[in-house]
Assembly symmetry: D2
Homo-oligomer: 428 residues x 4
């Protein structure tokens, strides 16, 4: 990898880091990505061609999108391409069709940031180097700025050596991975339906610097739920019996949600992460909101927890005579990597100068990932899929205000994925 | 009052105390009472003439009744009258119709004992005097043995001086006051429908010895509920997800029942007094039973609590996917005494040699009483009703294993009620 | 009452209504009140002379106070007197000492507004007349603007007819009655220690227009509690066991707080009015806040509920291994009016042209009032105290965004209280 | 295996089945086992030589033991050996020391029955054949009758061919495996401290007939807890505030116990299997009892759940001002089988005429087993240990009232274990 590409990777990443955009609002990011890819000669599909609106979970309203368009316009978005995303369908599929017979290989990266206030500690590297977030309350604290850059770097390398490939190479730039909200809608649009090999990747996640995991199998199926209880307010001193207490319904639901039984089919999780109820000390609370997530080692286990959760919520509402709404705002399945493809990844990573150690698989249950939707679709149609991790030195854990990576990890990412493309789509 | 009657009162009370019978099982007691009343010349109505079966709450099954018949037969029941009660309808209405125009005055006493193991402490008076309970697990710990005796003593006095009365004097011997289970069925049978004056009474309840309360207004409306949850058992280690946890449904119901809102309309109570669930440590519990009571200073407040309780129970069952049954096994309304009748009672009690102080009314919320059904019916049809208390020295509180009264209080009871009859049904 | 005073009452009330200030921040209001009273010739005591800082509950921090000083300065505060209150001790005691022997009579009014957004409905009278709140999120929705005006009107009337009085007449302008936060600190400063007669008053509360209640006995003792639970955050998917769940501690506390037993000593209340917990769906919540209030028909009953609440909160924290802080941010006792003084009030209200009907007492349990601190102190030192209500037509209930009164009620207030002063402090 | 031994196995099993004895009460069973082993020439250690009383969990009181001694005496116990066990230390270690150098190999079986009423269904095989339980409320519903018989059958085979062995062969007959109560005390007595090879076994558990699992790795670490809450009774109508509600403490504990967080270190379980509280509907419950079990895929996970459980219980008691006692009445660790020994077992099982298929290992999490104490001790001191399963046709699941096995499975058990002994303790 030449110095120029290294410098461009760093420049991209720092630019994205300074301008973090949350899920389904990646307007500036997408415009820049699309511009670069177009310049490199890729065929682009965007917007409704690659996303099914009904399957987008936790979407923003019109006002939020327009506000983001304005902001992007004022912050060096690629204005030519910004238009393509102004309805908020921020997914991109970049395709390099060699015209020669060969497999369809799809790489996937994600672009969205998190609702976190970035640390202003002088020792925090992005602060030190002057590229920390300029958007209060938003931060790339999970490395997706690096992922997007890796995707671009990979695109550069492929376009530079286009004559050495056969088949089709595709790169997906996915919105809204945080909250597992975006992949379902791209999968539904069919963007991986003809894929023979699918490779998603992530930096960090506790894997040591210069190590690579070829098959990350620990992602849990998950559902993200928002619940609103609506009761009836009443003066707590004068007429307590006239109220229908939404706060107690929510408190009771929270407790019993956590008491949902374990499942013998594998690990499960339940978390009521937020509960906000009531509007005054002396008023019987008439509303309560909860943010919930369920997880399961398998999709079946997650479904069990989610169904139990629905019963608990309905029962708690009935207890206190309150109404409720339940919205699914995120979802991911579980998926196991194809060992055959992981094996290939091991082989390709071995000669990389940026890699010191390779682990075949890691089964530790941890977070969730909606790349699993792509993986399940590809495997279900006869293809192979894997999810690999590029280890890095983390300044602080993912989703922490001091999160930071070693930028060299992007070189490993581009180099290994490029070698995989060379192998899978070699010109015979 | 002559010495002979005093001795008979004590003898009756001790005999009943030695042979306690729980609600709707007062077979021996009723047979003896009926025998005495018949001997005195009263007209008796019993069984289905004075009780509506559908309104009997918390009735026993056939087997329990037959067992009690056998026991009564072996323990000096009045065999002639035992036959009348062998179906378990143990209420008695004794009437003395003077044939002369005049009001209908009804006195009411109760006969049932409690499921309590009487103390065998040497210092416990019934133990000392050899008349403590001979039935393990049953005890007259609320003074109904004295009430029944007072009813008989009053019957004696009236029959002895029958020529001095006009109108009709009636004495009700009610079964199953404990748990407020018996009065509703006698009221439904119409036994007080033509009553002009109704007087119920109780000994003790914290009123000092030789004091009388003319109008006890503190009885709360109440409902007694039994709830059974039925879920699905499962091995808690191997297949916890296959269970439907009745224990958790019940635990959750218990907690939320106690969290039912206070009511601005008056005092309320809720108590889950018993909860029994599960059959093994390593089994997801498939059944749970609860004994509940609600109370309200008014019938409306009690209804509010009971309706909320029903929602809580239904919601808790829904939460855990378990079925439930809810049975009402006791109920009483609230009722306020007629001040006019209480005034008369004050006047009549004043000259009694067994009374030192008279309180017009006591509004302290306390327990419940199903005599309120009779009171509400009488008042609803234009009559007057009151509930009076004859104070006594209590060895220990009501429902305590060392409960005991000063037997002299029975003399006060008979004397005051007799004076009331003389006043209300005086021969002009 | 002459037309000029009527117009001034209305002008004051509308000015205060346009400039609502919440408890302990009544800087503009107090400066104007003090200016008027000074002009009328009253001796003023303010600030630390009439408030003990340690007994102020739910005080604001320095920054909030300074911000309010700035705002007052920009909104026509009386700059001369504003200085006296700039530390946030906004209580005022205005005294008219006749120099002639006679009793000390103290009237008390309150000045603070509520954290409510006033309705902008065109039909809302203050909106219609152009005097609705100019401070977003603050509103006089409980009539304290009228109370302050009544206090000033009474001051005018007394000063105009000063020669007809004996003894000492005092008017207290109390801050922070909402949340029952201010009276305790004024009582502790001794401002009513030598008072012979104490009269507090309120407009509205459901009493019909032109009706007066001479003795409002239904105020419940109360305690306002803020609780913060502090646990430990953790990723709910990856390391749920590392968290200490503050949300569950709070949910469990909320439920069990509402399950605190009823008390046989009188009515009680408990309300968890607000619960806010957690910072993200996939994070084990590390903090939770609750706003709680307890009430009791007597101070003893309230103490019972508060002590149980403390056990519940401590136990809930222990269950989940979280720390907690519990702050008392408001408190009031219960207090019964002196019938002798209420009788005098009845006599004085009878001839008032603004009054049509007078009720001696009202015992309905309802809200709470910290005037009870003054009342208990006065009665405890041998004086008499009462709390009277001036009925009015309410546009909507107290604390509602459309709350409004009939301004004529201020005339009744000034007239009746002035007559009471004439009677109690008559020149013999 | 000759027909005679087959018949004896069946006779033993049916005799034990007819006379089930629960944990630490296996007096008749132990007396018969000891008699047989003594007759065969084994050296026996029993009672306090093989059990440490302090480590016995969930022991019975003296009265229960004496009653069992009497019963055993009347039901054909071996009176000569019964004396050895009359203190209730019912463990037996039978040793065959060849006197020749060689390894120490220990086999372990268990002897106790369950508190289950056996089905009297005519189609239930033990009923049909006339060997169903003669002890109401006790039943061999987990196959320990077969285990004991297998132990005896193995003893017979070894003694018959004693000359072909080297080293020491030991057979442990353990009491109280149900509730995981007995192994800890035998381990503490050092009975496996010098063991080179340790083999425990079980019949059934869902493994098909004629199949063998060489290494059952799914046993979870577990703790069995009994909790008693002691509060204060009070009349729920008259003085609810005087009570300290043990029922609510328990209900609240139950709910929050089930809400204990999942653990990322592996599967966990929690179950409150029984809850019994209160003594009357109208009494604030003064006592409550719960039977609880925790489990963990590893001992660390189980320890986490148990420690959280202790916090929950302590917090719930604090909430309601009740005292509590917490007793550990059973415990087992987790343990993984030694693959080397499992491999040997596979080899030995392969030629057995009673075995059709062999599975090397089964990792399904399921129940718990206290044989893990022996296994951990042996492995900790350098030996090898495994736990094998002999599949069978189950008439109904374990712990079901219709549980029954195919008796042929005992032949497989004896045959395979004998072949293992031949292999491990071969005479070179």
């Amino acid at each position: 990898m030449n110095t120029e590409l290294k410098e461009r990777l760093i420049a991209w990443r720092r630019d994205f880091h300074r301008h973090p955009e949350q899920g389904f609002l990646e307007l500036r990011t997408a415009s820049i990505v699309a511009g670069e890819l177009d310049r490199l000669g890729y065929t682009l599909k965007t917007g409704l061609d690659v996303m099914v609106p009904e399957e987008m979970m936790g979407r923003h309203d019109r006002e939020a999108i327009e506000k983001q368009v304005d902001w992007a316009r004022q912050h060096d978005a690629n204005l030519e391409f910004l238009e393509r995303f102004r309805e908020g369908y921020t997914g991109i599929v970049a395709e390099w069709d060699t015209g020669r017979p060969g497999p369809v290989t799809t790489f996937r990266v994600d672009m969205d940031a998190l609702p976190i206030v970035e640390s202003d500690d002088a020792g925090h590297f992005p602060q030190q180097q002057g590229f920390s977030s300029t958007v209060p309350g938003s931060m790339h604290a999970c490395g997706h700025d690096a992922h997007t850059s890796i995707g671009l770097g990979l695109a550069v390398r492929i376009s530079e050596t286009a004559e050495s490939f056969s088949g089709v190479i595709r790169i997906l730039f996915q919105p809204a991975e945080e909250g597992t909200r975006g992949a379902k809608s791209m999968t539904a649009a069919g963007v991986v339906d003809d894929t023979d090999y699918f490779i998603a990747s992530h930096v960090g996640t506790g894997v040591p610097h210069r190590h690579v995991v070829a098959a990350a199998n620990g992602f849990m199926a998950t559902t993200k739920l928002n619940v609103t209880f609506r009761g009836k307010a009443s003066h707590a001193g004068a007429k307590p019996e006239d109220g229908n207490n939404a706060l107690l319904a929510a408190a009771n639901a929270a407790l019993n949600l956590h008491a949902i039984s374990r499942h013998s089919g594998g690990a499960s999780r339940i978390n009521v992460g937020e509960l906000h109820a009531g509007s005054g000390r002396n008023i019987v609370a008439d509303s309560a909101e909860m943010k919930i997530e369920t997880r399961g080692e398998t999709s079946e286990v997650n479904r069990y927890v989610r169904e139990q959760a629905e019963s608990v919520i309905a029962g708690a509402a009935a207890m206190y005579g309150v109404a409720y709404e339940l919205d699914i705002v995120g979802e991911a399945t579980s998926s196991k990597c194809s060992p055959e493809l992981a094996e290939i990844l091991v082989e390709c990573a071995t000669p990389s100068p940026f890699v010191e150690q390779i682990v075949f698989e890691d089964n530790t249950s941890a977070g969730s990932e909606d790349a699993t939707y792509f993986m399940e679709r590809v495997k279900g149609r006869g293809g192979l899929a894997t999810y690999c991790i590029f280890g890095t030195n983390l300044a602080a854990g993912h989703h922490n205000e001091k999160f930071d990576i070693d930028e060299e990890t992007m070189f490993a990412g581009v180099d290994v994925l490029y070698r995989v493309a060379q192998r899978l789509n070699a010109l015979n």
